[in-house]
Amino acid sequence: MSRDRLTNIALPLIGTLIVVGAWETASRLGAIDPRVFPGPITAIIEASGRLSADTVGEHMAWSLFRVFSGFAIGVAAGIAVGVLAGWYRWFGLIARPLIELLRPIPPLAWIPLAIIWFGLGEPSKFFIIFLGAFFPVVTATYHGVTYVDPTLVRAARTFGVRGWSLLARIVLPAAAPDLATGIRIGWGLSFGVLVAAELIAADRGLGYMIMNERNTGGSVSVIIVGILLIGFLNLLTDAVIGSAIQRWIGRWHGSGV
């Protein structure tokens, strides 16, 4: 047991340290030009000289707020559409081709329409992030609802349960593991499109911080720190969501999702 824990925590840590160390050394020794690709320590020192902790904190808070809002809308819509498409065949026939057609369209491509439809405020940013969360959730929900073990549905029917009650009490909980997977992926993608969303007239947020630095020809270090921060926020919140899911369905579903 203790040995397992050792390998599960120590090894990833060692691996990360080695890579980060190699990166730092390479840039110190000049193997990669520190002006275009500074080492992590250099980048953080330089960036902290240009940005105060407060500013960075504000950027992070805004980004998180946006990701969470867009994600929440995406999950709600994804579950609603997924359930309806899986439950009512005619609706599935309409919705599924549309979803498959829209899925490959990159969130960035939506920006012009997002602005025309929702303006430049938060709603259009939410919309872009919504796109990141919606597709994985809708697919997972549809899959979950249509592939519910038919025996479970039958078992419930033998107790006289049908219609919406069947959907709410049997189909949805049975689809929960699929849903959880979709939600997890959706959360990751919501972060993935954050930078795109913050291209829309943002004046704070980590994505804005990166793009603003680029537009004003600022420092590579700030960009790198921005990327690292988004990555860490993503990993951290993903772990939180993972353990929430684990608490939600882990006990009866077994393995984590």
Binding site: I115, I116, F118, G119, L120, L199, I200, R214, N215, G217
Partner: protein, 321 residues
């Protein structure tokens, strides 16, 4: 008559055309006219500001003359209320000295960074026309200013076609020179000759709906803008307004001092205005970016300007609320 609204959102950028807006606000003239609640909004790109106008998030937009032309031709209900600044000299072709661009034909041998679908594209077209070059042989790379500057620095492109302050930055930061401005040649053969290849001006744009719903506010706004134009054009006020602007924007005063001469703050709706607009529309039509060619006057509203100073309107706009 009272203005219908005391609230105005105005998009501004970092460069000198917005001298008018900044001074009008800082001097309190906008408030005097009844606009007690004025907000300036900055956008990272011109596109965003235009989209903000469509979304009703700003009431006054002051872009170059290309975007409203493109909008009007594509059925977007915008209207031009007058010119903000004529800035033909503002756009420049800047090349690296080591690229050896001496005569117009040398432009074939370099890669030029520019936003192809902006007035810079039109300028390059005019240069080609004037010097008898084949426009299609000029290697234009579609780049936004920041990337263009980076690419110029590592010689991936050898020149840029942009408006100030980018040429200024290129000249001060890199070993470069100007080979042509919007109004004057820098080629060896006719160095210093006045050749107008730019039709660049900034204009006041509002949405038709806003103008229809706020006739008094429109008049009052134009009046304040004209009054401010007159004030900033007076050499006696030059130092004061530059200081106001540079402080407001947190920019180096000397840069703005160097650049101010490129602008003529003149609201006139006259033959030059019509010509400049037509020249840009020609470029857009030739490259198939607009269809159903329209006269600029069909989306120009000159009454408020005439009310402010009738001498400024020599050609009447055809749009009416």
């Amino acid at each position: 008559a009272d203005v219908e609204t005391d609230t105005l959102s105005i998009s501004i950028g970092v460069d000198l055309p917005f001298l008018v807006h900044v001074v009008a606000k800082e001097k309190g003239w906008l408030a005097e006219a009844g606009f007690t609640n004025v907000e300036f909004k900055k956008f990272q790109s011109g596109n965003l500001a235009g989209e903000a106008l469509l979304a009703g998030e700003i009431q006054l937009w002051t872009p170059g003359n290309l975007p409203p032309i493109a909008m009007a031709h594509n059925g977007v209900p915008v209207v031009i209320l007058g010119s903000n600044a004529v800035s033909h000299g503002l756009e420049k072709i800047v090349v690296r000295k080591d690229a050896n661009v001496e005569k117009p034909e040398d432009l074939y041998n370099v890669k030029l960074g520019l936003l192809v679908s902006s007035t810079s594209g039109a300028l390059l077209g005019n240069v080609a026309k004037h010097y008898g070059l084949d426009f299609n042989k000029i290697q234009a790379v579609n780049l936004a200013p920041p990337e263009a500057m980076a690419s110029l620095a590592n010689n991936e492109i050898q020149g840029i076609v942009f408006w100030e302050p980018w040429p200024y930055r290129a000249l001060t930061e890199l070993d470069t020179k100007v080979v042509h401005t919007g109004t004057m040649s820098g080629f060896a053969q006719n160095d210093g000759e006045a050749v107008q290849v730019s039709n660049n001006r900034t204009v006041w744009v509002a949405s038709q709906d806003w103008v229809k719903n706020n006739p008094n506010a429109t008049k009052a706004l134009v009046e304040v803008l004209v009054r401010t134009q007159n004030y900033v054009s007076d050499p006696a006020n030059r130092d004061e307004v530059l200081k106001i602007f540079s402080n407001f924007q947190e920019q180096p005063l000397e840069m703005n001092q160097a650049l101010l001469s490129n602008y003529t703050f003149d609201a006139s709706i006259d033959e030059t205005y019509v010509e400049d607009m037509a020249a840009i529309a020609d470029f857009l039509e030739a490259t198939n970016r607009i269809k159903d060619r329209r006269d600029a006057l069909t989306f120009t509203y000159s009454e408020p300007l005439a009310a402010a100073d009738s001498a400024l309107v020599s050609v009447e706009g055809q749009w009416k609320p």
